[in-house]
């Protein structure tokens, strides 16, 4: 007797697709809608986890766009401290779709607002990317000029990007009341001071996120008609919640809503794809723990597995090179010091909240 499931591929069934499958390579888990060729111009943005994607692509010598590269001889650590080399421009981490949408609109209109500056000890910080200048700026004028340059560079980025990879990180955000702008980090964490009359907390709903992502897609297409988008959901749990709910519930809401909305975007639009990095990390079917002792940071070997699935799906992984690297450097997965150092590898404003816990 025929039924709708009888002719489906093994990947459609839990037993063959999950229980019995290769849980490192995850065959058929990700079948891309469109190709990424070695010469495809890829740009990345998003939460901390987006930095991993950028790095994995860069390691394969992909032409990852970077419109604000670090000065030539600047040491890597210092460059990262100043927000260079983390994403395709120095926009810092972009945790919510609203943040990205507003940035795109700023690029279109060239809007730079003096109200969006924080102060700390006589220094001035761009509220929309406070972490890219760890010591702040000497004056309001310096912040504004640096932002103008940033927006000018971003126009060039979005006009030339073929594939834009955006990693969704948070639904919770802080909005600046007078301007309504969505901030990457709560006031008072890096600079500024929390004033309930000026800032308000907002937890984006599925419908709001969907609306913002649609607007992002439309705006990106205005820069480059043929742009394609890959959405991913960060598998890193939230550091803290201001929702009033338990952090476990809040994290589950955040991640499941982001996963859901990314999936809906991919279902609706041909030029939007979803990469299931979130699933690879969070599935209970995996062998071994995905997370480090803090239950937030992802173990480096798991990140490597995730990125291998991504690269293999596009035929981009240089397996010989990877094997050689693994053979030369067997330590990372075993050495506890190496694992401890992993968190420092990413630049994450969100995790700063934890440091301020009373």
């Amino acid at each position: 007797m025929k039924n709708p499931y009888s002719d489906l591929a093994p990947s459609a069934f839990w037993k063959t697709g999950v229980v019995q499958t290769d849980k490192t390579l995850w065959p058929d888990l990700f079948v891309p809608k469109f190709a990424i060729e070695p010469e495809t111009r890829v740009a990345t943005a998003g939460s901390c986890f987006a930095q991993r994607i950028r790095q994995a692509l860069a390691d394969q010598n992909m032409p990852i766009l970077d419109v604000e590269p670090a000065p030539e001889a600047l040491q890597e650590d210092l460059a990262r401290e100043f927000g260079y080399g983390l994403h395709s421009a120095r926009y810092g981490n972009i945790y919510t779709p609203r943040q990205l949408l507003e940035l795109l609109q700023d690029v279109q209109t060239g809007t730079v607002r003096e109200e969006l500056i924080w102060q700390r000890k006589g220094r001035f910080f761009d509220m929309l990317r406070p972490n890219v200048e760890p010591d702040g700026c000497a004056s309001v004028r310096e912040v504004l000029e640096l932002r103008r340059l940033h927006l000018a560079r971003l126009r060039g980025l979005f006009e030339t990007t073929d594939v834009f990879v955006f990693t969704l990180g948070l639904t919770e955000a802080w909005l600046h009341g007078p301007t309504g702008r969505c901030l990457p980090v709560a006031p008072g964490v890096i600079a500024g001071e929390y004033d309930p009359g000026t800032y308000r907390f907002h937890n984006f709903s599925h419908s709001e996120l969907l609306k913002d992502l649609k607007a992002i897609r439309a705006t990106l297409r205005q820069f480059h008609k043929k742009i394609k988008i890959i959405l991913t959901t960060s598998p890193v749990p939230i550091t803290a919640t201001a929702s009033g709910d338990h952090v476990l519930n809040a994290s589950t809401y955040t991640k499941s809503t982001l996963r859901s909305v990314a999936g809906e975007m991919a279902m609706r639009f041909n030029n939007v794809d979803y990469f299931p990095g979130y699933e690879i990390v969070t599935t209970w079917a995996r062998d071994g723990m995905a997370y480090q002792d803090n239950l937030r940071s992802i173990r480096p070997e798991v990140v490597a597995d995730v990125m291998a699935v991504f690269l293999d799906a596009y035929g981009l992984r240089d397996t010989q090179d990877s094997a050689r690297r693994d053979a030369e450097d067997p330590a990372p997965a075993e050495d506890p010091e190496y694992l401890d150092g992993q968190e420092d590898d990413l630049v994450c404003e969100e995790s700063l909240i934890e440091a301020l816990q009373k």
Partner: protein, 275 residues
């Protein structure tokens, strides 16, 4: 009554020659100081490290060079009352390189981000340019050696700025194009002050005292006046071998005399002017 002389060890590369010459030529000017040199050309001192109260090296070639020039291939730190590190790339060249790659709003020639973009020097924050300059200066052999000496013992350590290039460097085309560009844009004096400020700051943080280039030797911020460069001598055992006439890097003994005067003042030692 003459006090017992303080032993000052001058360490460095070819720039050490000016100090050695000045200390010989005007020995009576600093009656309370006795100078001993320790160094050799290029990066010979790179092969040295502080170990158990001495500067030592495992590199036979470097040791041979120092032995030939100074008569010793290791330096016992005990008994030395002050160290002066000269040359070894601790110079205004580092910030000049930085400000030829990037710019900041602090530069007098930069009115906004467009100026910077048009001149192909991306605008960065003053905080970044400062951090970048600090990083470049800290990477110099001069800084590292001074820092290590300061960590090793109680004697004060001075890090002397390498002289700015001669004014005539502007005529040497591409080699000094970065200096010329900054000068022509009117950024020279600001950059000179910024260099001294950053140098002083990083030295202080390392427990080292910074000896800036004397203002009266400087022209337009970025250059050294000809009278303090002309007739500079090579670092050579034979002595009295001049650098070529088109040398724009090495200062002469007149320059070093002013530097040693600063050192004497910092150590509160007397300076006896020539009659």
């Amino acid at each position: 009554m003459t006090l017992p002389a303080k032993t000052v060890c001058v360490l460095g590369n070819s720039h050490m020659a000016a100090f050695v010459t000045a200390s010989d030529q005007w020995a009576a000017r600093w009656p309370e100081m006795r100078f001993i040199p320790f160094g050799a050309h290029g990066k010979s001192l790179e092969c040295y490290r502080v170990e158990e109260g001495a500067l030592v090296s495992d590199d036979a070639e470097a040791r041979a060079r120092l032995l030939a020039l100074t008569g010793q291939d290791r330096l016992d730190l005990a008994g030395i009352d002050a160290f002066v590190v000269t040359g070894l790339q601790f110079s205004i060249f580092a910030p000049v390189r930085v400000f030829n790659q990037v710019s900041s709003m602090a530069l007098p020639s930069v009115a906004g981000h467009r100026d910077a973009v048009e001149r192909n020097r991306p605008l960065t924050s003053g905080a970044l340019t400062e951090a970048y300059c600090r990083e470049r200066l800290r990477a110099t052999l001069g800084y590292r050696l001074a820092r290590d000496l300061a960590q090793a013992g109680a004697a004060p350590v001075f890090l002397a700025s390498q002289p700015r290039p001669a004014v005539s460097a502007r005529e040497q085309g591409y080699k000094f194009a970065g200096f010329t560009r900054l000068h022509e844009r009117g950024d020279g004096i600001w950059l000179s002050q910024e260099y001294d400020r950053i140098a002083r700051r990083i030295c202080r943080a390392a427990g080292v005292r910074y000896l800036a280039q004397p203002p009266r030797t400087i022209r337009d911020g970025l250059f050294t006046k000809y009278k303090f460069m002309r007739g500079s001598l090579r670092l050579a055992k034979a002595g009295n071998i001049r650098h070529p006439v088109d040398d724009v890097i090495h200062a002469n003994a007149d320059f070093a005399r002013l530097m040693i005067d600063q050192l004497a003042a910092a150590l509160d030692l007397s300076i006896v002017p020539a009659e």
